[in-house]
Amino acid sequence: MTRIVEVPAQLDDRTFEQFATSFAEGAPTDKMLFDARGAKWSSPYGFTGLLIAGQSVAEAGGPKPLFTVPEDEQVKSYWTRIGFLRHAAEFFELHGKVPRARAQDESDVLLEVTPVRASEDVHAVVERVQDRSARIVTGELGLEAKAVMGFAMALSEACQNIVEHAGTTGWVAIQAYNWKRRLGRRVVVIAVADGGVGFRKSLEATQAKRIGERWGDGAALECALVQGISRFRDPGRGQGLAGIKRYLERWEGKISIRSGSARLAIVPAWDEDAPLREHLAPFPGAQVQIVIPAAQGTP
């Protein structure tokens, strides 16, 4: 029997929990159908999360899930242009007409959905984004020129965590859009996701005993994001997330990391998210979202 996994009409980091709950209702070896017919919009976090779901099924040896593409032609076209449907075809049996990808400069797409497997991929991503990031960070977001390199640094460090820790391929995507909830300003969102071991397993050998009974996905995220702890003994490790946090503090940005059944966020004043959510539906690997808002007064 085929199990239906619902893809929310608006897929972002909040509605992702509906999707994760639906995905977690059975085993990855179930026969599944991902129903995205009614989808109207997805953030980079949504796109990369969908790919991780498909990838995790493949890695578990499950049958290739069906994926019904959005019925809305404009939505379908956008999902093609951002590269999602092309990569989704690797993990899903796509149902519905998929438009041919046309070479087009999509102004809101800073980086199409891109796989990250090795250090060379991180180099390629940083090089590709550099020119576009200057235009978006100073132009669209109205931030100072000095914010551009920090943006590239945050991207580099977030992608490197896939290579250094996940043990499997990850995905990155960057988009600009209007963040309507409370902020009412333009934002650039970087999403970096992997279906790897997750923070808990990564840090268990060195941290579980120290933390004791409280050890779990949430505690592991706190160790990494708040305390800068790495699984490596090298004292120079663990600075990547600290560097990202420093950059985001300067530009009023936000970072959230979901791993396993917990999600931890460093929440700026313009957002009303909960810093820590636990007992979420389990989802493989780790999903990072970095949000950089436009400067105040920027239309």
Binding site: E120, Q130, M149, A152, M153, S156, E157, Q160, G236
Partner: protein, 181 residues
């Protein structure tokens, strides 16, 4: 003797199929550091001046692998020194952050100023003593103490940090910055 080592060339060497301008990722940083160490051995200069002029981004991982680990691996008795040049403010900030984390330090010149400055783990006294050496050139301890208006003990503590972190050379009672302006 000072030898300049261009990091963009070593980066190209590490990635011959690309034309990279960004020093990112730990494997790249480790490869570039190995190349720097090779060049320092081959050239036998007392001061290796690492030139960042043609580079854009230096991420924290590379700042750690290239600069911090290079300094950590240097033999304090070898009397060889490292300084940095051609840095942007972003690069200087990343390097300053990782060096402070490791309690290391280095002398650096940024692109927008020819005046050498310190990056990393230095207190106010060390920075003040360094600034005098940059402004006045080589000085003996007595002259330096007079210039700063300090007791000799206070100066000795500051100079010890500067010498241990390899940004000041003390020879025959005189002290000078590794690089002079």
């Amino acid at each position: 003797m000072v030898t300049t080592i261009r990091l963009d060339s070593l980066l190209q060497e590490a990635h011959p199929a690309m034309t990279p301008k960004n020093l990112v990722t730990r494997p790249t940083g480790a490869a570039v550091r190995t190349s720097i160490e090779r060049e320092m051995t081959l050239r036998r200069a007392q001061v290796a001046l690492l030139d960042f002029s043609e580079l854009d981004l230096v991420d924290l991982s590379c700042a750690d692998e290239v600069v911090a680990k290079l300094l950590q691996r240097m033999d304090a008795t070898d009397q060889r020194y490292v300084a940095l040049t051609g840095l942007t403010e972003d690069q200087a900030e990343a390097i300053d952050h990782v060096l402070s984390h490791h309690q290391l330090g280095v002398q650096a010149i940024t692109r927008d100023s020819s005046r050498p400055r310190l990056l990393g783990h230095f207190g106010n006294d060390s920075r003040a003593a360094f600034d005098v050496l940059i402004d006045r050139g080589p000085l003996d301890g007595g002259a330096l103490a007079t210039e700063l208006g300090w007791h000799s003990d206070r100066l000795a503590d500051a100079l010890q940090v500067l010498c241990l972190l390899g940004v000041v050379i003390g020879t025959g009672g005189a002290f000078q910055a590794v690089l002079v302006a």
